[in-house]
Protein backbone atom coordinates (compact mmCIF):
# COMPACT_ATOMS: atom_id res chain seq x y z
CA UNK A 1 0.00 0.00 0.00
CA UNK A 2 1.27 3.40 -0.96
CA UNK A 3 0.67 6.66 0.82
CA UNK A 4 -1.83 7.51 -1.91
CA UNK A 5 -3.84 4.41 -1.08
CA UNK A 6 -3.92 5.28 2.58
CA UNK A 7 -5.08 8.80 1.92
CA UNK A 8 -7.68 7.48 -0.50
CA UNK A 9 -9.04 4.94 1.97
CA UNK A 10 -9.17 7.54 4.70
CA UNK A 11 -11.08 9.95 2.49
CA UNK A 12 -13.50 7.27 1.33
CA UNK A 13 -14.25 6.22 4.90
CA UNK A 14 -15.08 9.85 5.62
CA UNK A 15 -17.33 9.99 2.55
CA UNK A 16 -19.06 6.76 3.54
CA UNK A 17 -19.75 8.03 7.03
CA UNK A 18 -20.91 11.27 5.46
CA UNK A 19 -23.41 9.35 3.33
CA UNK A 20 -24.93 7.82 6.46
CA UNK A 21 -25.35 11.28 7.91
CA UNK A 22 -26.73 12.65 4.65
CA UNK A 23 -29.31 9.89 4.35
CA UNK A 24 -30.41 10.40 7.91
CA UNK A 25 -31.22 13.95 6.95
CA UNK A 26 -32.86 12.98 3.68
CA UNK A 27 -35.29 10.72 5.53
CA UNK A 28 -36.59 13.63 7.50
CA UNK A 29 -36.77 16.17 4.75
CA UNK A 30 -40.09 17.05 3.25
CA UNK A 31 -40.32 19.16 0.21
CA UNK A 32 -42.80 21.72 -0.94
CA UNK A 33 -43.53 21.39 -4.61
CA UNK A 34 -45.23 24.31 -6.28
CA UNK A 35 -46.85 23.75 -9.63
CA UNK A 36 -48.61 26.11 -11.95
CA UNK A 37 -50.90 24.25 -14.34
CA UNK A 38 -48.95 20.99 -14.41
CA UNK A 39 -45.57 22.69 -14.55
CA UNK A 40 -43.34 22.49 -11.52
CA UNK A 41 -42.14 26.02 -10.82
CA UNK A 42 -40.29 25.38 -7.61
CA UNK A 43 -39.22 22.83 -5.03
CA UNK A 44 -38.36 24.02 -1.54
CA UNK A 45 -37.30 22.43 1.71
CA UNK A 46 -40.25 22.45 4.09
CA UNK A 47 -37.98 22.52 7.12
CA UNK A 48 -35.70 25.27 5.90
CA UNK A 49 -34.57 27.27 8.93
CA UNK A 50 -35.55 30.63 7.49
CA UNK A 51 -39.10 31.54 6.54
CA UNK A 52 -39.59 31.93 2.87
CA UNK A 53 -42.09 33.61 0.58
CA UNK A 54 -42.39 32.55 -3.00
CA UNK A 55 -44.38 34.42 -5.59
CA UNK A 56 -45.61 32.44 -8.58
CA UNK A 57 -47.41 33.70 -11.63
CA UNK A 58 -50.73 32.06 -12.48
CA UNK A 59 -53.16 32.91 -15.30
CA UNK A 60 -55.04 35.38 -13.06
CA UNK A 61 -52.00 36.94 -11.46
CA UNK A 62 -49.58 36.42 -8.61
CA UNK A 63 -49.95 33.86 -5.88
CA UNK A 64 -47.71 34.15 -2.85
CA UNK A 65 -46.76 31.02 -0.97
CA UNK A 66 -45.30 31.15 2.51
CA UNK A 67 -43.10 28.38 3.88
CA UNK A 68 -42.28 28.66 7.55
CA UNK A 69 -41.30 26.30 10.34
CA UNK A 70 -42.29 23.07 8.64
CA UNK A 71 -45.59 24.25 7.25
CA UNK A 72 -46.77 26.01 4.16
CA UNK A 73 -49.74 28.15 3.20
CA UNK A 74 -51.09 30.30 0.44
CA UNK A 75 -50.47 33.76 1.77
CA UNK A 76 -52.00 35.77 -1.01
CA UNK A 77 -53.71 34.80 -4.22
CA UNK A 78 -55.10 36.64 -7.19
CA UNK A 79 -58.14 34.39 -7.37
CA UNK A 80 -61.65 35.66 -6.53
CA UNK A 81 -62.75 32.94 -4.09
CA UNK A 82 -59.63 32.89 -1.88
CA UNK A 83 -60.47 29.31 -0.93
CA UNK A 84 -56.78 28.53 -1.10
CA UNK A 85 -55.98 31.23 1.45
CA UNK A 86 -58.72 29.97 3.75
CA UNK A 87 -57.24 26.47 3.59
CA UNK A 88 -54.58 27.70 6.01
CA UNK A 89 -51.38 25.87 6.82
CA UNK A 90 -50.55 22.35 5.68
CA UNK A 91 -47.64 20.31 6.96
CA UNK A 92 -48.21 16.59 6.31
CA UNK A 93 -46.79 14.56 3.50
CA UNK A 94 -49.21 14.23 0.58
CA UNK A 95 -51.26 17.25 1.60
CA UNK A 96 -52.10 19.82 -1.01
CA UNK A 97 -53.44 23.30 -1.32
CA UNK A 98 -54.74 24.12 -4.71
CA UNK A 99 -56.02 27.29 -6.18
CA UNK A 100 -58.26 26.17 -8.99
CA UNK A 101 -58.91 29.56 -10.61
CA UNK A 102 -55.24 30.52 -10.65
CA UNK A 103 -54.13 26.93 -11.38
CA UNK A 104 -51.56 26.90 -8.58
CA UNK A 105 -50.86 23.67 -6.73
CA UNK A 106 -48.81 23.43 -3.54
CA UNK A 107 -47.93 19.93 -2.50
CA UNK A 108 -45.85 18.39 0.25
CA UNK A 109 -43.87 15.40 -0.84
CA UNK A 110 -41.14 13.27 0.63
CA UNK A 111 -40.84 11.54 3.98
CA UNK A 112 -41.76 8.28 2.37
CA UNK A 113 -39.65 6.45 4.90
CA UNK A 114 -42.72 6.10 7.06
CA UNK A 115 -45.33 4.29 4.99
CA UNK A 116 -47.88 4.35 7.81
CA UNK A 117 -48.28 8.07 7.23
CA UNK A 118 -48.68 7.70 3.52
CA UNK A 119 -52.08 8.33 1.99
CA UNK A 120 -52.92 7.70 -1.63
CA UNK A 121 -55.67 10.27 -1.59
CA UNK A 122 -57.95 12.28 0.66
CA UNK A 123 -61.71 12.22 0.23
CA UNK A 124 -62.87 15.75 0.87
Amino acid sequence: MTLGDKVLIFLLILINLGSVFFLGRMGKSKQVIIQVDQKVVGIYDLHAPAARRVVVQGPLGDSEVEIQGGKVRMLRSACPGKTCQKAGWISGQGQIICCVPNKVLIRISGDESDPSLHLDGIAQ
Binding site: T2, G4, D5, L8, L12, S19, V20, E112
Partner: protein, 217 residues
Protein backbone atom coordinates in the same frame (compact mmCIF):
# COMPACT_ATOMS: atom_id res chain seq x y z
CA UNK B 1 30.91 -2.80 -63.59
CA UNK B 2 32.68 -5.12 -61.30
CA UNK B 3 32.64 -2.92 -58.30
CA UNK B 4 29.14 -2.19 -59.12
CA UNK B 5 28.33 -5.88 -59.12
CA UNK B 6 30.18 -6.19 -55.83
CA UNK B 7 28.10 -3.42 -54.41
CA UNK B 8 24.97 -5.14 -55.61
CA UNK B 9 26.02 -8.34 -53.94
CA UNK B 10 26.82 -6.47 -50.79
CA UNK B 11 23.40 -4.88 -50.90
CA UNK B 12 21.71 -8.21 -51.47
CA UNK B 13 23.54 -9.72 -48.56
CA UNK B 14 22.58 -6.86 -46.34
CA UNK B 15 18.98 -7.20 -47.36
CA UNK B 16 19.04 -10.89 -46.72
CA UNK B 17 20.43 -10.32 -43.27
CA UNK B 18 17.88 -7.64 -42.65
CA UNK B 19 15.10 -9.93 -43.75
CA UNK B 20 16.43 -12.65 -41.51
CA UNK B 21 16.55 -10.26 -38.59
CA UNK B 22 13.08 -9.05 -39.49
CA UNK B 23 11.91 -12.57 -39.58
CA UNK B 24 13.21 -13.13 -36.10
CA UNK B 25 11.62 -9.89 -35.03
CA UNK B 26 8.41 -10.93 -36.67
CA UNK B 27 8.51 -14.22 -34.90
CA UNK B 28 9.09 -12.80 -31.46
CA UNK B 29 6.48 -10.15 -32.19
CA UNK B 30 4.06 -12.80 -33.28
CA UNK B 31 4.95 -14.80 -30.23
CA UNK B 32 4.18 -11.81 -28.07
CA UNK B 33 0.88 -11.40 -29.82
CA UNK B 34 0.03 -15.03 -29.29
CA UNK B 35 1.03 -14.82 -25.67
CA UNK B 36 -1.23 -11.85 -25.30
CA UNK B 37 -4.13 -13.63 -26.94
CA UNK B 38 -3.66 -16.65 -24.76
CA UNK B 39 -3.30 -14.69 -21.55
CA UNK B 40 -6.30 -12.52 -22.36
CA UNK B 41 -8.49 -15.47 -23.18
CA UNK B 42 -7.40 -17.20 -19.99
CA UNK B 43 -8.12 -14.05 -18.03
CA UNK B 44 -11.50 -13.64 -19.70
CA UNK B 45 -12.51 -17.17 -18.94
CA UNK B 46 -11.36 -16.69 -15.35
CA UNK B 47 -13.48 -13.57 -15.16
CA UNK B 48 -16.47 -15.43 -16.55
CA UNK B 49 -16.00 -18.22 -14.02
CA UNK B 50 -15.81 -15.72 -11.17
CA UNK B 51 -18.91 -14.03 -12.50
CA UNK B 52 -20.90 -17.24 -12.79
CA UNK B 53 -19.81 -18.59 -9.42
CA UNK B 54 -20.69 -15.27 -7.80
CA UNK B 55 -24.11 -15.28 -9.42
CA UNK B 56 -24.83 -18.61 -7.80
CA UNK B 57 -24.22 -17.15 -4.34
CA UNK B 58 -27.38 -15.54 -2.99
CA UNK B 59 -26.72 -11.98 -1.93
CA UNK B 60 -28.64 -9.81 0.46
CA UNK B 61 -28.79 -6.73 -1.74
CA UNK B 62 -29.36 -7.12 -5.47
CA UNK B 63 -26.40 -5.29 -6.90
CA UNK B 64 -24.01 -6.04 -4.09
CA UNK B 65 -21.25 -8.33 -5.31
CA UNK B 66 -17.75 -9.35 -4.41
CA UNK B 67 -16.66 -8.26 -7.87
CA UNK B 68 -14.00 -10.94 -8.13
CA UNK B 69 -14.00 -10.48 -11.89
CA UNK B 70 -12.45 -7.07 -11.25
CA UNK B 71 -9.27 -8.82 -10.09
CA UNK B 72 -8.86 -10.30 -13.52
CA UNK B 73 -9.71 -7.05 -15.26
CA UNK B 74 -6.96 -5.38 -13.25
CA UNK B 75 -4.45 -8.03 -14.26
CA UNK B 76 -5.34 -7.41 -17.90
CA UNK B 77 -4.86 -3.68 -17.36
CA UNK B 78 -1.48 -4.16 -15.72
CA UNK B 79 -0.20 -6.41 -18.48
CA UNK B 80 -1.80 -4.93 -21.57
CA UNK B 81 -3.48 -1.64 -20.78
CA UNK B 82 -6.90 -0.01 -20.73
CA UNK B 83 -8.21 -1.44 -23.98
CA UNK B 84 -7.65 -5.02 -22.97
CA UNK B 85 -9.06 -4.39 -19.53
CA UNK B 86 -12.23 -3.16 -21.23
CA UNK B 87 -12.16 -6.20 -23.51
CA UNK B 88 -11.96 -8.65 -20.61
CA UNK B 89 -14.71 -6.81 -18.80
CA UNK B 90 -16.89 -6.83 -21.90
CA UNK B 91 -16.32 -10.54 -22.54
CA UNK B 92 -17.04 -11.32 -18.92
CA UNK B 93 -20.42 -9.58 -19.07
CA UNK B 94 -21.36 -11.13 -22.41
CA UNK B 95 -20.32 -14.71 -21.78
CA UNK B 96 -21.20 -14.65 -18.09
CA UNK B 97 -24.71 -13.41 -18.61
CA UNK B 98 -25.26 -15.91 -21.39
CA UNK B 99 -24.30 -18.70 -19.03
CA UNK B 100 -26.34 -17.34 -16.13
CA UNK B 101 -29.25 -16.60 -18.43
CA UNK B 102 -29.60 -12.89 -17.92
CA UNK B 103 -28.33 -11.91 -21.35
CA UNK B 104 -29.90 -8.63 -22.53
CA UNK B 105 -31.99 -8.48 -19.36
CA UNK B 106 -31.79 -5.55 -16.95
CA UNK B 107 -29.07 -7.14 -14.83
CA UNK B 108 -26.99 -7.67 -17.96
CA UNK B 109 -27.06 -3.98 -18.80
CA UNK B 110 -26.22 -3.14 -15.22
CA UNK B 111 -23.29 -5.51 -15.13
CA UNK B 112 -21.88 -4.53 -18.51
CA UNK B 113 -22.07 -0.81 -17.87
CA UNK B 114 -20.74 -1.09 -14.34
CA UNK B 115 -17.96 -3.35 -15.57
CA UNK B 116 -16.92 -1.13 -18.47
CA UNK B 117 -17.05 2.04 -16.38
CA UNK B 118 -14.90 0.58 -13.65
CA UNK B 119 -12.45 -0.97 -16.16
CA UNK B 120 -12.08 2.40 -17.85
CA UNK B 121 -11.48 4.29 -14.62
CA UNK B 122 -9.08 1.66 -13.31
CA UNK B 123 -7.20 1.61 -16.59
CA UNK B 124 -6.78 5.36 -16.66
CA UNK B 125 -5.77 5.45 -13.01
CA UNK B 126 -3.18 2.75 -13.61
CA UNK B 127 -1.76 4.57 -16.59
CA UNK B 128 -1.59 8.03 -15.08
CA UNK B 129 -1.40 7.62 -11.30
CA UNK B 130 0.31 4.28 -11.03
CA UNK B 131 3.15 5.00 -8.66
CA UNK B 132 0.93 7.14 -6.49
CA UNK B 133 -1.84 4.54 -6.12
CA UNK B 134 -1.05 0.85 -5.85
CA UNK B 135 -3.40 -1.77 -7.23
CA UNK B 136 -5.26 -1.66 -3.93
CA UNK B 137 -6.21 1.98 -4.33
CA UNK B 138 -7.05 1.48 -7.97
CA UNK B 139 -9.21 -1.52 -7.14
CA UNK B 140 -11.10 0.44 -4.49
CA UNK B 141 -11.82 3.25 -6.93
CA UNK B 142 -12.91 0.60 -9.46
CA UNK B 143 -15.31 -0.95 -6.96
CA UNK B 144 -16.80 2.46 -6.17
CA UNK B 145 -17.20 3.21 -9.86
CA UNK B 146 -18.85 -0.15 -10.43
CA UNK B 147 -21.35 0.19 -7.59
CA UNK B 148 -22.20 3.82 -8.15
CA UNK B 149 -22.66 3.40 -11.89
CA UNK B 150 -25.08 0.57 -11.27
CA UNK B 151 -26.91 2.45 -8.59
CA UNK B 152 -27.40 5.50 -10.77
CA UNK B 153 -28.58 3.32 -13.65
CA UNK B 154 -31.01 1.49 -11.39
CA UNK B 155 -32.35 4.82 -10.21
CA UNK B 156 -32.68 6.26 -13.70
CA UNK B 157 -34.05 3.24 -15.51
CA UNK B 158 -35.47 0.72 -13.07
CA UNK B 159 -36.79 2.10 -9.82
CA UNK B 160 -37.12 5.84 -9.84
CA UNK B 161 -37.51 6.06 -6.12
CA UNK B 162 -35.28 8.00 -3.81
CA UNK B 163 -35.49 5.18 -1.30
CA UNK B 164 -32.82 3.21 -3.09
CA UNK B 165 -30.29 5.75 -1.87
CA UNK B 166 -30.87 4.45 1.63
CA UNK B 167 -28.66 1.59 0.46
CA UNK B 168 -25.85 4.03 -0.25
CA UNK B 169 -23.89 3.53 2.99
CA UNK B 170 -24.12 -0.24 2.63
CA UNK B 171 -23.01 -0.10 -0.95
CA UNK B 172 -20.17 2.33 -0.27
CA UNK B 173 -18.74 0.43 2.68
CA UNK B 174 -18.93 -2.86 0.87
CA UNK B 175 -17.28 -1.29 -2.17
CA UNK B 176 -14.44 -0.19 0.10
CA UNK B 177 -14.11 -3.68 1.58
CA UNK B 178 -14.38 -5.63 -1.67
CA UNK B 179 -12.20 -3.13 -3.48
CA UNK B 180 -9.49 -3.50 -0.86
CA UNK B 181 -9.63 -7.28 -0.94
CA UNK B 182 -9.72 -7.49 -4.71
CA UNK B 183 -6.76 -5.12 -4.81
CA UNK B 184 -4.77 -7.42 -2.55
CA UNK B 185 -5.72 -10.40 -4.67
CA UNK B 186 -4.78 -8.58 -7.86
CA UNK B 187 -1.39 -7.56 -6.46
CA UNK B 188 -0.73 -11.15 -5.53
CA UNK B 189 -1.88 -12.46 -8.91
CA UNK B 190 0.17 -9.92 -10.84
CA UNK B 191 3.31 -10.83 -8.85
CA UNK B 192 2.81 -14.52 -9.52
CA UNK B 193 2.06 -14.01 -13.19
CA UNK B 194 5.12 -11.79 -13.59
CA UNK B 195 7.26 -14.54 -12.14
CA UNK B 196 5.74 -17.21 -14.38
CA UNK B 197 5.82 -15.02 -17.46
CA UNK B 198 9.36 -13.77 -17.00
CA UNK B 199 10.51 -17.33 -16.48
CA UNK B 200 8.85 -18.46 -19.68
CA UNK B 201 10.05 -15.38 -21.52
CA UNK B 202 13.54 -16.10 -20.31
CA UNK B 203 13.18 -19.64 -21.58
CA UNK B 204 11.94 -18.34 -24.88
CA UNK B 205 14.93 -16.04 -25.25
CA UNK B 206 17.31 -18.88 -24.42
CA UNK B 207 15.68 -21.09 -26.98
CA UNK B 208 15.99 -18.27 -29.51
CA UNK B 209 14.40 -18.65 -32.89
CA UNK B 210 13.73 -22.32 -32.40
CA UNK B 211 10.71 -21.67 -30.26
CA UNK B 212 7.48 -23.12 -31.54
CA UNK B 213 4.10 -21.61 -31.41
CA UNK B 214 2.16 -22.40 -28.32
CA UNK B 215 5.20 -22.94 -26.15
CA UNK B 216 5.48 -21.03 -22.96
CA UNK B 217 3.26 -18.29 -21.80
Amino acid sequence: MKWRGGEKKEKQRAEKQKAKRNNIMDRSQRQKKINRTILLSLLSSMAVIFFVVESAIPNPVPWLRLGLANIVVMVAIVFYGVKDGLLVSFLRAMAGSMIVGTFLGPSFWLSISGGLASALIMGLLYRFCSPFFSLIGISIVGAYTHSLTQMVLVFVFLIQRREIFYLLPVILFSALATGFINGLAATFLVEQLHRVLSRSMHAAILKGQGMHEGQGL
